[in-house]
């Protein structure tokens, strides 16, 4: 009898371990936001609500529309920084997309080397969707 009970308990424990856990969405500041193929102009965060044979069958996706001024302001205020193809970009406050300041030199004469440094803003619009997907764009709070 004891042996059978031990087997039943072991089987129950094993079945508990193999059931995938459902992870709820974190608060916004703890979320990882990604650009996904199906959601142009948006940043997304997913969580799996149900599984079948270890594969997710029901995704819950939160979207953040970068065309919305309020959404952009909120993300900037929280301090989201994005990794686009290995480069660090911030979310632009004034337009839908990603911005980055870079020091550029337009003059190539060696004696102007220290005088020609200028700040240039690089801008990747959110509408450049395929590039952002290919570059594995990922944003998180700094």
């Amino acid at each position: 009898m004891k042996l059978i009970l031990t087997w039943i308990i072991s089987l129950l424990l094993l079945s508990c371990n193999t059931t995938p856990t459902v992870y709820p969405h974190s608060s916004l500041s703890g979320q990882i936001l990604r650009v996904r193929q199906a959601y142009p102009n948006k940043l997304t965060n997913t969580s799996c609500l149900s599984y079948k044979n270890q594969a997710c069958t029901n995704f819950d996706t939160i979207t953040y529309d970068l065309k919305d001024d309020n959404v952009r302001n909120k993300l900037v205020d929280i301090g989201f920084i994005c990794d686009i193809a290995g480069k660090r970009y911030r979310i632009c406050r004034e337009k839908p997309g990603y911005c980055r300041w870079e020091i550029a030199c337009k003059h190539h004469y060696w004696y102007w080397m220290f005088a020609c440094k200028e700040h240039e803003e690089t801008y990747i619009p959110a509408s450049n969707h395929q590039f952002l997907v290919d570059a594995k764009t990922e944003c998180r709070k700094r």
Binding site: Y23, Q31, Q37, F59
Partner: protein, 79 residues
């Protein structure tokens, strides 16, 4: 996984090896296991479960914090 976290983990691995051989294997195994889970999840691309990645990265941070505490204790003990 961000490169920064990967670098922190590599450093954590090395520190753990230096401070305590017995505890080291336990933490290295845990960290590598978590790294593999994150890698497998992120490999799913658009179907990646972000909430799971966030959770696993949180676990990694806890282990790294534990290692930091171990190092501090070890250093305090050696003085």
């Amino acid at each position: 996984m961000t490169e920064l976290i990967a670098s922190a983990l590599a450093l954590g691995n090395e520190i753990v090896k230096l401070i305590n051989a017995k505890e080291a294997t336990k933490y290295i195994d845990k960290m590598n296991n978590l790294k593999m889970k994150i890698y497998e999840e992120e490999k799913k691309g658009d179907f990646c479960n972000d909430a799971r990645v966030e959770y696993l990265q949180g676990e990694l941070r806890i282990i790294l914090d534990t290692i930091t505490q171990m190092v501090v204790q070890q250093l305090a003990g050696s003085k």
